[in-house]
């Protein structure tokens, strides 16, 4: 039998990492039918998936994450993979926050692949040194001090790509840094109206407005990796981006700690915004396919795979029991922080990457933030717009 996997890891390192999964599934005796659909953070993939489900020929598994898993669960098209989870002792291996996301009505329907930390801040060591910035700023005030220095040195302060998801990535790091974990949860997970329009949110937008002034005008539409390249080339000092940026640094032959620096975004040291890639299993008609599905689930949770995959991709394994040997410093810090925050409650879902709220609201939020970033909208107007967006259905 074959497993058909819908995913949007299509290029370079990602594709190679996913290739590992294929190998493991093959070893288990199943064929791999690759259903790759890239583009726009999975937009096209989701469209294709819906068409497949409606046509009655859902793939074995599809790359879906966050609350969307629950939405699909409601449609009654997902497969129960408790059998694999029990055998693989997933409950023990996964942090509770994560395992909850993978379950629908108490049953596992999805297998997680990796954890990305989104609230990273990357910096070019040399640019910082030249500007006289010696440490990575730990809070926003410190950041703006450093920013002024870098600006004076002639380099661009922040490399940014003006795409809605990148805007949102910066926004959530700012919100987390300014308001802290509780505020973040209240505003961006529970959508508490008071928090959404409160002074903290206004301050968040004010900070964002200030950040805007350190971004070049050409940022609009720039791909994140081009922004990263600006940091790599020393054209810019900082970038706010998830840990996948490491891949670019690595590809350019840069060494963490020496050529480039990684740190949590200002004020978010004690928090961890996670973005978990996972494969959701769809109900299959024939028994053979179901077996393949379980084999796939097993393969995903296979520690060996998780190690190789995450080494390639810059993220960290989602489960315990994966050897940490070959991971770099940034990744190790990530793992430690995951551990600690999952215990102290600082582990929060990334809103920018669809982990926090359903897609309609997330999309509406993104629209507001993108508009704020690209117009002279006031923070006050922005928070009102956010509150309205929170009502999107």
């Amino acid at each position: 039998a074959e497993v058909e996997v819908l995913h949007y890891w299509t290029s370079g390192g990602e594709a190679k990492s996913a290739g590992q999964l294929k190998e493991i599934v093959k070893e288990a005796g199943y064929g791999w039918k690759d259903f790759a659909v890239a583009g726009g953070g999975g937009e096209n993939a989701m469209t294709a998936l819906k068409a497949r489900v409606i046509a009655g020929s859902a793939p074995t598994a599809a790359q879906i994450k966050g609350p969307s898993i629950q939405e699909w669960g409601k449609e009654g098209v997902l497969a129960n993979i408790d059998e694999a989870a029990i055998a693989g002792k997933w409950d023990e291996a996964l942090p509770k926050v994560v395992s909850n996301i993978m379950k629908y009505q108490g049953h596992y329907v999805a297998a997680p692949v990796n954890v990305h930390r989104v609230n990273w801040m990357w910096a070019n060591a040399e640019v910082l040194k030249k500007a006289g910035v010696n440490t990575m700023p730990a809070n926003w005030d410190a950041f703006f001090d450093a920013a002024e220095k870098i600006k004076k040195s002639g380099a661009l302060v922040i490399a940014h790509g003006g795409q809605p998801w990148q805007d949102a990535t910066v926004f959530e790091s700012v919100a987390l840094g300014i308001g802290g974990v509780d505020f973040y949860k209240k505003a961006l997970v529970q959508l508490d109206p008071a928090s959404l329009t409160g002074p903290t949110m206004i301050k968040t937008f004010e900070t964002l407005a200030k950040i805007k002034t350190y971004i070049d005008k050409d940022a609009a539409g720039r791909d994140w990796n081009l922004a990263t390249a600006m940091v790599i080339n020393g054209k810019a000092g900082f970038q706010f981006m998830g840990d996948w940026a490491k891949g670019e640094f690595a590809a350019a032959g840069k060494v963490p700690g020496k050529d480039y620096l990684c740190a949590a975004a200002p004020g978010t040291d004690k928090a961890f915004t996670f973005n978990i890639d996972s494969f959701v299993m769809f109900a299959q008609k024939d028994a053979d396919a179901k077996k393949g599905q379980l084999a796939l689930a097993n393969a995903i949770m296979n520690p060996k795979f998780q190690a190789i995959f995450n080494l390639n991709k810059g993220s960290i394994p989602v489960r315990t029991g994966v050897p940490k040997t070959r991971f770099d410093d940034c990744a190790l810090k990530s793992m430690d922080d995951l551990d600690s925050t999952s215990k102290n409650g600082g582990l929060v879902p990334s809103f920018a990457h669809g982990m926090a709220i359903d897609s309609a609201k997330a999309g509406a939020f993104q629209d507001v933030i993108a508009k704020f970033m690209n117009s002279s909208m006031t923070p006050q107007a922005a928070v009102q717009a956010l509150a309205k967006a929170a009502k999107a259905k």
Partner: protein
């Protein structure tokens, strides 16, 4: 059709006609089976009446299902609370109410107006201009025509990146001009919220105007030579002839062109997606993208359907009067 006289042939024929008569060749030249066919006549008559309809019916049925049926379905979905997947519970016009509340929708609608209008206008102008210029017995007409036409062959998935670079101030034209020493040159529409939609026009015109040119060129080639001669004798200069006589007589071509351009403009999705993805922010959003994202990415199928219905309504509002005018104009002899 030139009637070439051939007196010679005719008189020869005369001789032979005469000769045949003289030698008394039997008048009956052929005797195909005459009554064989008669019995099938009723059947054949029916066949000729029903076959055309029969042949057309698959298309009609397909069109009824796949165009009208699906439009109907979408119309119905727009009246439901469908979210990620279709849901057939009737919910009234709430989706439309919600749609009209969304800023981004109005931005998209306005952008369609700007883009559609300018796109069609500039395609017409450049297409017509190039067609007229190419019609002046140009030496390398074939090569130039191919150059103008080739963008039509490329999908925007292909060319979007190239355009993005060219228009990007930090990478493309502006940088080039700066490198060449024109420091004051500024061309940053792509990253300017107010101007981004115009870059879409630039790329759109690039892609489609060659095709428009081909259509107009074909039209020009069909204009009666003697009309132009008449105008020249009347004393009109070449530009006047084109402006007053040739171009007005291309009216049917204009109609075809408008039809095709309107279709491209309204469906433009790849183009905007590849160039600006609706950005910066949502400033260059268009209804097609809006609808796609809301329907498929954001799980607001009902809202997406409502926006689709609005799109269709706009199309009809623009097109029906256009078609009406054209048929009326044609009936009255342009």
């Amino acid at each position: 059709m030139s009637a070439i006289r051939n007196t010679n042939d005719a008189s020869k024929a005369n001789k032979v006609l005469h000769a045949t008569r003289a030698t008394g060749v039997a008048p009956s030249l052929a005797t195909p089976g005459k009554n064989k066919t008669a019995q099938f006549s009723a059947l054949a008559a029916l066949a000729d009446i029903w076959l055309p309809r029969l042949v057309l019916s698959p298309t009609i049925i397909a069109s009824l299902i796949f165009v009208y049926g699906f439009i109907g379905l979408t119309a119905y979905l727009s009246l439901t609370e469908s979210r990620m997947m279709p849901n057939y519970e009737f919910a009234g016009f709430s989706q439309y109410a919600a749609l009209f509340e969304i800023d981004r929708w109005w931005v998209a609608a306005a952008n369609l107006g700007i883009f559609g209008g300018l796109f069609i206008l500039f395609c017409l102008i450049t297409g017509l201009l190039m067609a007229v210029l190419l019609d002046q017995k140009i030496r390398a007409e074939g090569a130039l025509r191919a150059i103008y036409l080739y963008p039509m062959a490329l999908s925007f998935i292909v060319t979007g990146a190239a355009w993005k670079w060219i228009l990007n101030p930090g990478l493309g034209l502006e940088k080039l001009m700066h490198d060449w020493g024109y420091k004051n040159f500024s061309f940053d529409w792509l990253v300017d919220s107010d101007m981004a939609i115009y870059t879409v026009v630039i790329a759109g015109v690039w892609q489609s105007s060659g095709f428009v040119m081909a259509l107009f060129l074909a039209g020009l080639r069909g204009v009666d030579d003697s009309i132009i001669k008449a105008a020249m004798v009347d004393g009109a200069s070449l530009p006047t002839i084109y402006r007053r006589i040739v171009i007005p007589s291309l009216r049917p071509v204009f109609f075809s062109v408008l039809l095709i351009l309107a279709h491209i403009a309204i469906k433009s999705f790849d183009l905007v997606m590849a160039l600006t993805a609706g950005g910066p922010g949502t400033s260059s959003d268009v209804p097609a993208i809006f609808m796609y994202q809301f329907s498929f990415t954001r799980g607001q199928l009902g809202l997406g359907a409502a926006s689709a219905m609005m799109m269709l309504a706009t199309v009809l509002a623009v097109l029906v009067p256009l078609m009406y005018m054209e048929t009326k104009g044609a009936a009255h002899g342009r």
